[in-house]
Point group: C2
Chain length 211, copies 2
């Protein structure tokens, strides 16, 4: 049994979405200064690193992250590889991909995952993302959870339609998965977002358990 | 299969350890104000709600939270009930408890768990905790992970020895579990702390999966 940790390490060196709050992680109580213990403080937007979008992120009346179903966030998932030259995940790409039938949780590895190996703090705009017709394909094919390997499921210049199509259908979206070390195939997924009350999203430590 | 979510809901209404930073969770980008999306920001100490202590919390040269073993954080765990009149978890209590042999992960439900049903934001000092000799018992009995149901594994007035005994032995400590809804017995535990680089601890969504 192998555990793959597909979560990005959270620090001030992690790229964040343009316009979102910066990540601050600092020790505020310190044994070096004579305290009994070390205590750190985190200040960050909730859409950092490996994280989950709740419907409320792009649907003002949508449910918030503490209400997402753990029955969907955990269970069998398929990791699909797309070739390095795929620039966008559209319906045609998905229709021709070898996704096993009756799989309701899908994680898509693209060339984005290679990006994480560089450990650069720079946000990139030209990441591979899911087009609106790709999102429609996922809804039509009964996908309940979709994971992607950069910080947004949607293209940088056109964030609204892909998010709204997926979130309106109740599909749980995991963004910022590092799939660079994970072979294509089937796994046990455990994606556990922080239980942030009333929030539009939450960082989520996420693992895949292989046989 | 039943999933028990033993994680506390994170909001400004959650009690925090005296002297630790307050919890702030607020929307900083808002569709109500014309934005494309809602985006919240979290600012909090890392020892809030259901969370994991890393050795660095009480041992200045100890390892930090991103290095804790997922092989210990996930796996079979036993939930032990202690009676409402137990005031402290000491070696005698543990020795007389009906803990199955060869269990390396132990979560202890005490009267603390009832506290969470009241949903009070008030921090309490007289919670049930593990005494130093209780901690020595856990080390001697090859426990690798211990979970407790208030915000510290150690008594309020005497935090250092219990923490240091457990953390020096490499035992992973989960604090702030809400076990009020969980029957005594055996479960699959998934405790997934945020991967905070260099941190003394991290909030951790934590679930138990029953048969």
């Amino acid at each position: 049994m192998t555990i793959y940790d597909i979560s990005l390490p959270i620090s001030a060196n992690l790229p964040v979405w343009e316009g979102d709050p910066a990540i601050q992680l600092e020790k505020v109580i310190s044994m070096d200064e004579g305290a009994d213990a070390n205590v750190s403080r985190l200040s960050a937007g909730v859409h950092i690193g490996t994280h989950v979008d709740a419907p409320h992120h792009f649907l003002n009346d949508g449910r918030t992250v503490e209400n997402l179903s753990l029955d969907i966030l955990t269970g069998v998932a398929y990791v699909l590889y797309l070739a390095e030259d795929v620039d966008a995940v559209d319906a045609a790409i998905l229709a021709s991909a070898s996704i096993p039938k009756n799989r309701s949780r899908l994680l898509i590895r693209t060339r984005n995952s290679q990006q994480w190996l560089q450990k650069s703090p720079k946000f990139i705009r030209d990441f591979v993302a899911i087009t609106p017709d790709g999102a429609e394909w996922l809804v039509a094919n009964d996908i309940k959870l979709i994971g992607v390997d950069y910080l947004s499921v949607a293209e940088f210049q056109n964030p609204i339609p892909t998010h709204q199509i997926l979130l309106r259908a109740g599909i749980i979206v995991i963004e910022g998965c590092d799939l660079s070390q994970v072979p294509e195939g089937e796994y046990g997924l455990y994606c556990l977002p922080l239980k942030l009350v009333g929030s539009d999203g939450a960082p989520a430590r996420t693992i895949l358990i292989g046989k």
